[in-house]
């Protein structure tokens, strides 16, 4: 029946354009930046182009809110706007806005004069948004590529630093490799089920006929996506890339694309009701948490430390995937949101402290910051406490929901590994706090005042972290509603 409709109706209805409205907005603003950039004086264009990008991301947020009134499928069942996709759209576009705010000062201090930086951020965000609403594996692949290629370039933006170029090449090579895995998985899945539509695949699985090929396809897709979220054992690239990339970009790439990929994973694992996922996830989650935390224990570079921490957090989040869908989906969504809030905030502070050429990114450079820059240090402390999972921060409820969901599925062993890991994790986050508050400051590390853009970014992320930590009810309820729609 679907086939006939496709033949009859070759032109999409106008309401279907609303279902990709945020993507359109982001793409248009991205192109405006690319067009404006060559026409402007290179030395003064940064602020203007940044502002255009900021307006673009805010417009995308507005478009998302507007779009939420028109749920449904579009473009021959390739995109599906539901509360689930709106949730991730909102998350991604907000993170984008915050990252752009952080970048203003950073670009100036690092003396990076390249307007396409902001364009690439918007294009990347567009790909990520599309990933969260796509229900068609080929479209997901295209969206994944749009988002990945933008980030490959963004990683190499500190052109003067060899480490940045190294990170870019490394990320590009390994990333392409992983994408190939994903594509191969899609191909096998098509061979197994005769469709690339997640809905159709789900129907096939639920009807009971699960060909062996589907398992292989699923495993290969998981490898590709696991690489993108830096889950062990596909995490090797993470520390080097995070260390080399510009700090605001790390804040971006450790949250928004991850959230988008987790959205895809949620759709594949739960909406399509993928078979045999439990042990795949169990093992990946357990080793991600453990390797991430153990690796972070010995780091002296704050960016590397947070890189390992992001591996561990991918592990915590994956625990939700091993749970029952009705609890696991909301827990994973909540985790993605609170991780985005705290990690973007943490990297905003890191990029401010880093100074010209990112010279001050070791633990020792943070000594005495509690005294010299009390507000920034206090804000970073909030984010770090949230990463530890201390009450009244979003990170606490995130872990809490994930572990509860896993316990409801009787995964006591996995929860014990997770709980022990979060205790280990406390140690290395604490090292930063201890450095800031309990060690004598070093005079040669400069402290500059906080510009208004960065200040806004920090206020937004701190407020979101605290909000999720004190009144998580509404967000969780929304996530639960999305989950029930997704499962229907």
């Amino acid at each position: 029946m679907n086939v006939t409709i496709q033949i009859v109706r070759t032109v999409p209805e106008s309401v279907e354009y609303l279902r990709i409205l945020p993507e359109i907005v982001l793409a248009v603003f991205g192109m405006i930046i690319m067009l404006l950039d060559p026409l402007m004086d290179e030395r003064r264009s940064q602020k203007t182009l940044g502002s255009v990008a900021l307006v673009g991301s805010l417009a995308a947020i507005a478009a998302t809110l507007y779009q939420s009134q028109y749920p449904g499928v579009g473009f021959w069942n390739m995109v599906h706007v539901d509360t689930f996709s709106v949730f991730f759209h909102f998350l991604i576009t907000t993170v984008t806005a915050v990252v752009i705010l952080t970048s203003y000062e950073y670009m100036e201090v690092q003396q990076i004069r390249a307007g396409e930086y902001y364009g690439l951020i918007l294009f990347g965000a567009m790909g990520m948004c599309l990933m969260s609403s796509a229900v068609e594996l080929v479209l997901i692949f295209i969206a994944l590529e749009i988002s990945s290629i933008s980030t490959y370039i963004l990683v190499g933006f500190r052109r003067r630093a060899a480490i940045s170029s190294e990170a870019s090449v490394k990320y590009f090579l390994l990333g392409s490799f992983a994408t190939a895995f994903f594509l191969y998985g899609v191909a096998l899945m098509f061979g197994a089920t005769g469709s690339t539509s997640i809905t159709v695949i789900g129907d096939t699985f639920r009807s009971g006929a699960i060909p062996m090929l589907a398992y292989a396809g699923l495993a290969l897709m998981f490898v590709g996506l696991g690489f993108k979220v830096a889950a062990a054992p596909f995490h090797i690239w993470t520390p080097d890339v995070y260390e080399g990339a510009p700090a605001p970009v790390v804040g971006f790439m450790s949250t928004a694309p991850k959230a988008a990929v987790f959205a895809v994973l949620l759709r594949i694992m739960f909406e399509a009701d993928a078979p045999g996922r439990l042990w795949l996830i169990w093992i990946t989650a357990a080793i991600s948490m453990t390797l991430g935390n153990l690796g972070a224990l010995v780091q002296d570079n704050v960016k590397r430390l947070l890189a390992y921490s992001s591996i561990a957090h991918a592990g915590y989040l994956l625990v939700a995937f091993a749970a029952l869908p009705s609890n696991g989906i909301p827990a994973a969504m909540f985790y993605a949101a609170s991780y985005a809030a705290m990690n973007v905030g943490a990297f905003a502070v890191v990029s401010h402290f880093a100074g010209a050429g990112e010279r001050y990114v070791t633990l020792e450079d943070y000594a005495g910051m509690g005294r010299r820059s009390p507000l920034l240090a206090a804000t970073l402390t909030i984010f770090l406490l949230s990463l530890i999972g201390i009450p009244i921060t979003g990170g606490f409820f995130a872990k809490f929901y994930v572990f509860t969901a896993a316990l409801q599925a009787n995964l006591v062993g996995l929860v014990m590994i997770g709980v022990l890991n979060s205790a280990v994790g406390a140690y290395y986050y604490l090292r930063i706090i201890v450095m800031m508050y309990m060690h004598e400051s070093r005079a040669e590390v400069p402290v500059s005042p906080v510009p208004i853009g960065l200040g806004t970014a920090l206020v937004v992320s701190a407020a979101a972290t605290i909000y999720l930590g004190t009144l998580p009810g509404r967000v969780l309820e929304y996530a639960s509603r999305s989950a029930s729609q997704l499962l229907r």
Partner: protein, 505 residues
Amino acid sequence: MSTNNWSPMILTLVTFVPLAGGLLLLLFPRRDRDIRVFSLVVSLLAFVLSLHLPVHLQRARAGFQYELDRQWIASPNIHYHMGVDGVSMWLVVLTTFLTPLCVLISWKSVRERVKEFFILLLILETALIGVFVSLDLFLFYFFWEATLIPMALLIGMYGHGRRVYAAVKFFLYTMIASVFMLAAILWLYTKTGTFDFVAIQTAIRTGQVEGFLGAAPWLFLGFFVAFAVKVPLFPLHTWLPDAHVEAPTAGSVLLAGVLLKMGTYGMLRFSLGLFPEQSRANASWIMVLALIGIIYGALVAMVQPNMKKLIAYSSISHLGFVVLGIFSFTQAGLDGATFVMLAHGVSTGALFMLAGILYERRHTYEIADFGGLATPMPAYASFFLFIVLASVGLPLLNGFVGEFLVLSGAFRSRAVYGILGATGVIWSACYLLWMYQRVFFGKVTHDINQALPDLDRRERIALWPTAVAALVMGVAPLLWLNAIDPSVHVALAPFAQLASRAVGR
């Protein structure tokens, strides 16, 4: 009654007044004097408000009072459920009683980052009170973890020499132990669908929790490890001496006075309340550990050259009494345990303040650096003697009543426990009086000590309340015990059934 309108809100008020004060302090300009005065006013306000609790408590009534139960988060089912009984009420009052004294004692000793200090102190007070009044396991865990950060920061930012080491050690020890409790709480939630203490208790007693029998020993241990580290029970005590020696005076006072009681309170409320059979089954080794703590703590205290470390080890010894009393499962034992918690809070709090006063003058805690202090500092010496005697357990002072009750409970449980425990009383007399003799009697051995100024007015004001409390608690313990007794009776009810069931077999 007019109090009825007040009753549901009073616990919320008492809990959050300090936090509100702390947040207001954020807006203050950095004029240290104003900050100190304001903190004192806020902490006194909290104390006055908390006095509402004992005044209006219906003493004959068992169970929780001043209850407030509102839904906080719908899913998971987390409630803002607060309430106190005779035991937790006094611990709340102890907290609010000690905090203004902490403010006074830190008046001059904290000179840098004054604002942050008092903000942390007030946040800590809120978290501590929250632990004692929460009846929702989630809320309890929330406050339990929330005490960690302000305390660790107080130690790490305002402490002495090895403060960073001590702060991190304190944080990690208690943090790692409490994740086991979190796991146990989550397990209970997934099986019962509620965090409410009373509801879970009822579900367990009526056998509605699926798979409870198999999991109970592990759940008991999960809770117990978290509590045992806080108490601290031998051999998990090694963080305590470090934390105390490095902590600023106010930190030590609250650490010994209130924070350690979170552990023993948790045992009384949750270990006994939720897992009576497992408590009974594990009582023998726990009591042995408590006895080791009493004797070992005392012996180590005796050989300490450092005054503050001596008091820290004496805390291990005294808290051993509390654990011994709780796991004797007798009315006298539990009454005594609760009373020792309060008495120890007052007298050890005072001892730490006294040590801190000396440190402000000489910047050392070494006993060998003093000697003959009674001559230059007569008022200080008399306060010190009074508190030492209270701590030793002199009849008519607060230490005696609790220890006596605990020991009589321990005797009834097993005579040898009582006998061994009783030696602890002797040991404590030895190390405290010996320390007193070395510091205060004889000739002034160091010339620099000749000119030490005696207590000033502020220090007297800080010390008098503790001395008065020590005396009143010793003379009229019934004022406290008649509120504690009914609650203890309720806590022990399942044990009477257990015992009769055992006899019936």
